[in-house]
């Protein structure tokens, strides 16, 4: 039993977590009769919270409430995992990645997200605002324009051999590589 808890507390290798994430596809189809996708929850939240007359946001969001409940579940599950199933060790990045982070001036590699960027104490700095505020806006705008995110397009869409999803994933990497190789080094240097 203790060994099991210890195994749970260590990060799971990709060949364990990947297939479990893949099971979200049939679980959604069978239990919810819906396709797997998370970014729509931003749309539902927008339609529910912000009064407007925009056609894109005039629909019965209440019938999609499961998606918001799912999002809330993610939050609770992540809380439980971080509280009770974590060993507190830094993420085992590859040596190349650690060196690259150091070149960026990111020396604190503890936790999941770099404390040197994503913390409330740094909210007044332009870098933190840029990453958190502009980044979040691009995620919301981009996923809706593309019609899905990593779950809806990359996992659900590719599992269903959808050509638009393949094109969307090419887009994800176009933007990601542009940011990671082109813009990020400028911001962080």
């Amino acid at each position: 039993m203790n060994e099991f808890i210890e195994w749970l507390s260590n990060p799971w290798p990709w060949y364990v977590s990947g297939p479990i994430i893949g099971l979200m596809v049939p679980l959604h189809l069978i239990l919810l009769n819906r396709t797997f996708g998370i970014s729509s929850s931003f749309r539902h939240a927008c339609a529910a919270v912000i009064p407007n007359k925009l056609p894109f946001l005039q629909y019965d969001w209440k019938s999609e409430i499961w998606n918001l409940i799912f999002a809330g579940g993610i939050l609770i599950g992540a809380f439980l995992a971080a509280q009770f199933l974590s060993n507190g060790e830094p993420i085992a990045l590859s040596q190349a990645a650690i060196e690259r982070m150091n070149r960026f001036g990111i020396t604190d590699l503890s936790g999941q997200h770099p404390n040197q960027i994503f913390s409330w104490e740094l909210i007044g700095t332009w870098k933190t605002l840029l990453f958190v505020v502009v980044g979040g806006f691009l995620v919301g705008f981009g996923t809706r324009y593309a019609g899905g995110c990593t779950s809806g397009h990359a996992i659900m869409g590719l599992s269903h051999f959808q050509l638009p999803s393949f094109i969307a994933v090419l887009g994800f990497f176009t933007g990601g590589l542009l940011m990671s190789w082109g813009i990020l080094p400028l911001i962080l240097s």
Partner: protein, 129 residues
């Protein structure tokens, strides 16, 4: 089910900015292995569900809707999302998970994401599809 997914996102480390940067720099198999193996399991599941004409627990035969046959918007929208993904280090699921696991500043990213949807809804008719 959402809770299970939240636990997995933490244990798989896919909500980590470090892991996302490592992925875009092609410095580890971790993220590619996760997405790749998830798609393989997903594709086999979809194949079986279609082959067996499986029913959902509500009792009706599962029909999986096709994605709209659009090509400009997935690419351009996907690129915009990719820029944001590499900045926040998180796609929408991991954003929720980060708030839960303690990086509470990401709540601002979720609010901005919702405003991003609002901006898209405003501009939708003017954007190429």
């Amino acid at each position: 089910m959402g809770m299970a997914f939240g636990i997995i996102l933490v244990k798989a480390e896919v909500l980590s900015w470090f892991r996302i940067q490592e992925m875009f720099a092609f410095q580890s198999i971790h993220m590619y292995g996760i997405i790749g193996s998830a798609v393989i399991v997903g594709a086999i599941s979809v194949w079986i569900i279609k082959k067996m004409k499986a029913r959902s627990i509500e009792g009706n035969v599962i029909e999986i809707p096709e994605k709209a046959k659009l090509f400009v918007s997935p690419y351009v929208g996907g690129t915009i999302f990719g820029l944001g993904w590499a900045m926040t280090g998180a796609c929408p699921g991991p954003l929720y998970a980060l708030i839960g696991s303690g990086t509470t500043i990401m709540i601002l990213s979720v609010i901005m994401g919702i405003l991003g949807v609002l901006a898209y809804a405003q501009l939708r008719d003017k954007l190429p599809r």
